[in-house]
Chain length 279, copies 2
Amino acid sequence: MKKIAIQGIAGSFHEDAARKYFGDEEIEVVECRSFQSVCELIDADKVSIAVMAIENSIAGSILQNYSLIRDYHLRVIGETYIHIQMNLMMLPGGKKEDIKTIYSHPVAIRQCVEYIEKYFPNAKIVENQDTAKSGKLLVEENLRDAAAIGNLRTAEIYGLEVLETGIESNKKNYTRFWILSKHANQHVKTNKASLCFEVGHYYGALARVLNIFADNKINLNKIQSVPIVGKPNEYTMHVDVEYDSEENYEKAIHLVLKNVSSLSILGEYVRGELEISNQ
Amino acid sequence: MKKIAIQGIAGSFHEDAARKYFGDEEIEVVECRSFQSVCELIDADKVSIAVMAIENSIAGSILQNYSLIRDYHLRVIGETYIHIQMNLMMLPGGKKEDIKTIYSHPVAIRQCVEYIEKYFPNAKIVENQDTAKSGKLLVEENLRDAAAIGNLRTAEIYGLEVLETGIESNKKNYTRFWILSKHANQHVKTNKASLCFEVGHYYGALARVLNIFADNKINLNKIQSVPIVGKPNEYTMHVDVEYDSEENYEKAIHLVLKNVSSLSILGEYVRGELEISNQ
């Protein structure tokens, strides 16, 4: 059985992502306290694969995770997108009018603040490390006058009753997760790559790189300059590209290498589909 | 006296930024509970200027603030950078060995976690909305066995004693703040601009825009693609450019307009200096 390291506990959005990516394959999720310990587990060969959030449509890229992936020399071997839906849950038999306290992760609370203010203006809000942990807490401490906000998987695992679904304000919020390993994809036909590089500090340095991609029919899917702290006017570029022809991609990379310093290929993989239902 | 709206209270990093930008000018800081209420105050002409964090060197761009600025049609009229230093403070006469609880903002706590774990492994950590509020709380509730983590201005305003300075792990962390108004800069010679635009979905669409900047000796200072949720494969580009000649800049913008859809000029202003001491 594949062992997959995730940050957080069973029932979290990270577990959702792992199960979505691996589909019918049997997997064992290894719970970690932090993103760093996820990387340490792979580094020490305790697990061969990790699933890690890399960007969210509201909050943007998780730059700290980019740094970890580079520091630990991990490779991206796949990606998956999870539509972030929030739900209100209680112990079975719980009633909304009994809710005095609501537990959840601070980001989840922010995403549901309109719902909370409308329906539970007097509830005490308690921030927790994890949405799944908030659900687990209700069970562990038998909290009958409290609710948790989290995903459906949390309710399923901990036997909670879902009183309301889709309570988040932004209905089109998704998080992108990377599947990481120590070793790159091999013998797999890929159509997407994630790269980091630095360009010289002269007019048109970046334009030159983008021209190479365009000339080779490679689509730019993401671009973000990240300042290198301590080096004014120097940037690391984070770029995702998509291509139909691996041959064109190889040709372009060869040319790009001559125009950038320190190119890192974080990974080449099969692009994930972003399905957001139009509720 | 100029009225400046900030998110947070006096003593916060936002107040630091306002005082740094306006220097010797007398200003009155108007405290707001959220970034949205900052925008509402300007919109209702209750204040003429706001100061708002827009990116941090560790966490990246604050995309929600970009959205607010666009939603409220605000203009960037200036920028300033604040080096984020964290300090441990107590009521006067307090001793480190008495510290049982440490109050601060969650992000500040994360930035000082190595220091806390090393010197105060048993302290209870309480998350607060604001670093300045954490300091104020010590005074209001006369908490003699507690410390707050925040900037020096907080200690100064609330009469706290600083027991340790520079307790953050990353010594080169800075936050960039924008100075915002309802109206654009006029009669000011500018050398930096912040733009948002969308490009067509064809090979080289973005490269074409960057070529125009390069041809006109305009430096790209920041670039970030932000997915437009609900529209797969469409992006808003956030771009900062720097230029010596306003004439070249005007010429480039004129050409860029023909190659993008919905260009927004968030503002043209004088670039701020990023000074980070090498401790």
